[in-house]
Symmetry: C3
Subunit: 268 residues, 3 copies
């Protein structure tokens, strides 16, 4: 009996109480703080965590990469509010998404659809009117719709009260390595705070004895930054599961003047 009750409860409120935020709002204007105010006004016990507010403006690939490599560190039932939203105020839809035992809220621009696809999740379209939005701005749906939805969900409102399943969300593609003339060709997909050049190459792309070259230079594959010679870049498997080009206590991005999108090829 008791078990059943608990199970009913957890079916009713499957949320951990953690709400994370990932935006390109920056830190200057109070936009992120305002979203937290809205969540707390509806869910006073919510525990709020910033993933980042420094996604490069309008950069959906960076948003997707950071979100999909960050959310699994949170406990199941966490609710992730993603507001990189170049289409704010236009007709693009508002989404709620369940995937990998986590929950996501944000605009329909490919980031949430991608997470749903990668994790066989479900996607729902939010109807702002059903959510109780009477007057939304056309420039800040993070405050007027997404934070409100997060707060109300944590306060006990069921997602079915304001959203319905859809099957055609936008799905963002992030380049995968491909085979070109018998060689695996990857590319730089992200540059982090340390100037590490994160490629889309994973362990399965580097066979034994194979190596990655920049021009004529073969990159040493090392297992820690400390193994690198100073000023000489190398390859290391990073915490997201990708190989990154790194320098010891320096920025590979500055040293090599490489950017997101540049190709990196694997030699067998």
């Amino acid at each position: 009996m008791r078990c059943e009750t608990l199970s009913t409860q957890s079916r009713k409120n499957p949320y951990s109480g953690i709400v994370t935020f990932l935006t390109d709002f920056g830190a200057e204007d109070g936009y992120a703080g305002v979203m937290k105010g809205v969540v707390l006004a509806h869910a006073p016990g919510a525990r709020l965590v910033d993933i980042t507010h420094c996604v490069p403006r309008f950069n959906l690939c960076a948003a997707a990469l950071i979100l999909e490599n960050s959310f699994p560190s949170f406990q199941a039932g966490s609710l992730h509010v993603m507001v990189v939203d170049p289409g704010v105020g236009s007709v693009r839809r508002h989404l709620f998404c369940k995937a990998a035992a986590h929950f996501f809220i944000g605009p329909d621009n490919g980031v949430l659809g991608r997470i749903a696809e990668l994790n066989r999740g479900s996607v729902f379209e939010i109807d702002p009117a059903l959510l109780g939005v009477t007057k939304a701005s056309n420039t800040f749906h993070g405050r007027d719709i997404y934070a409100l939805a997060a707060g109300k969900l944590l306060a006990g409102l069921d997602r079915s009260a304001f959203s319905a399943p859809i099957t055609d969300p936008e799905v963002l593609q992030i380049p995968e390595p491909c085979e070109v003339e018998g060689r695996v060709e990857g590319e730089i997909i992200h540059i982090d705070h340390f100037g590490n050049l994160i490629t889309n190459l994973r362990t399965q792309h580097l066979g034994e004895g194979s190596c990655v070259c920049l021009g004529e230079e073969r990159l040493a594959i090392v297992s820690s930054y400390s193994e690198l010679e100073e000023g000489k870049p190398g390859l290391i498997l990073n915490s997201w599961g990708y190989y990154e080009i790194a320098c010891r206590e320096g920025s590979a991005a500055c040293l090599l003047e490489m950017r997101v999108g540049e190709k990196v090829s694997v030699k067998p």
Copy 2:
């Protein structure tokens, strides 16, 4: 009876438990974290939210604009600690302010006085000795006075124990649009993270058929960023209730090389 008890309680502790912070301390030195440590030492259950720590150094207008457009998103009874404080260590007073069902703490430099004036609030001068401050630094009243006051208020200390009403706080003026030769003339009052040029023009300043021009160029008035042609600036009503000059997925500030204080006139 029960109602009366509750009402007495809420008269005793009118705080929501939320404390927000708005400073120009930046993120580098731990100054903001230290203020939170002080609040939590006195009020372990406080819920802390950063509005921003990236107000341009000593910029009271930016502080005021961000604060007055952010605090209403928090629930009533929230306590907002504002420490943009070029006069720290001088004779300027320390204020506690009640306005619009919110509470504010900070130096007497116009920001809190303005919020009190706009919202018909009350202002009180804090006496640090009565607050229990025995030895304050002359460079960090955010830690030594304002965070301490916030923590003690949330812990149950009544504001009357350490502050007394005043009627002459500094009141910051932010330029309002004015009429020049029969035309409404506004100006840029803030530039946000996206490079949007926020003017002081509101809906009442733009009559039907009127428009805003930059030189000879008439700005399109749009209802979402997506309606803008790329590279062509337009005017949009933003989430603070002001018209802003914006670009689609770009920075109007960079494109137009405009700054805070530059004039923008409305043509009838």
Copy 3:
């Protein structure tokens, strides 16, 4: 009896529930948020505070200075996670440290050893296997070891379950003023967000009538920034207990073009 029970409890869980973070991870990539996710997954009631994530990359002196001047503002029993970690993935040890009634977790690179030495604390080496780490990345021990340790400690795991005392941690030296030809010579040890040049000179280094000169220019010693003439630098005792060279509403670092490590001498 009751007293004994309480005392046993507090011996069992001496933590305040506050976890602070001090890293050089920056705000862009979600690394800091991920550490919080790990802590909360193990200790749902933890209260998390950022000291800073903007320590200059790999800069242990800055990390040490900020940490030792920030942690005392938190209540006793707080747990401070310090991850400026150029040696991540190498053989350097993982430390848990008790000092000044606070707790610290981080790599063995001198920062925690210094805090232990200054405060006569105790240092313990963490064994990741005993902590339950099965598969750590080689690039992000903040997530895989330090946040996990923090979460498990707050959840009730005793530090003795995964760490053993050591007596030889690395101890970082930050330059102290010294006597050169009968004069006290200090130096700039940190530059803060406002461009204040923080020296290692304390009250004991400036006798009555003595002064600090830059070249021929004698710096006025003032008790608040407001006493300074605009554009003219002066000396002020700051909130960390050091004398700093400051400008009124301006950056002394920009005005004087001085850097960390430059000498400042006291004239008697």
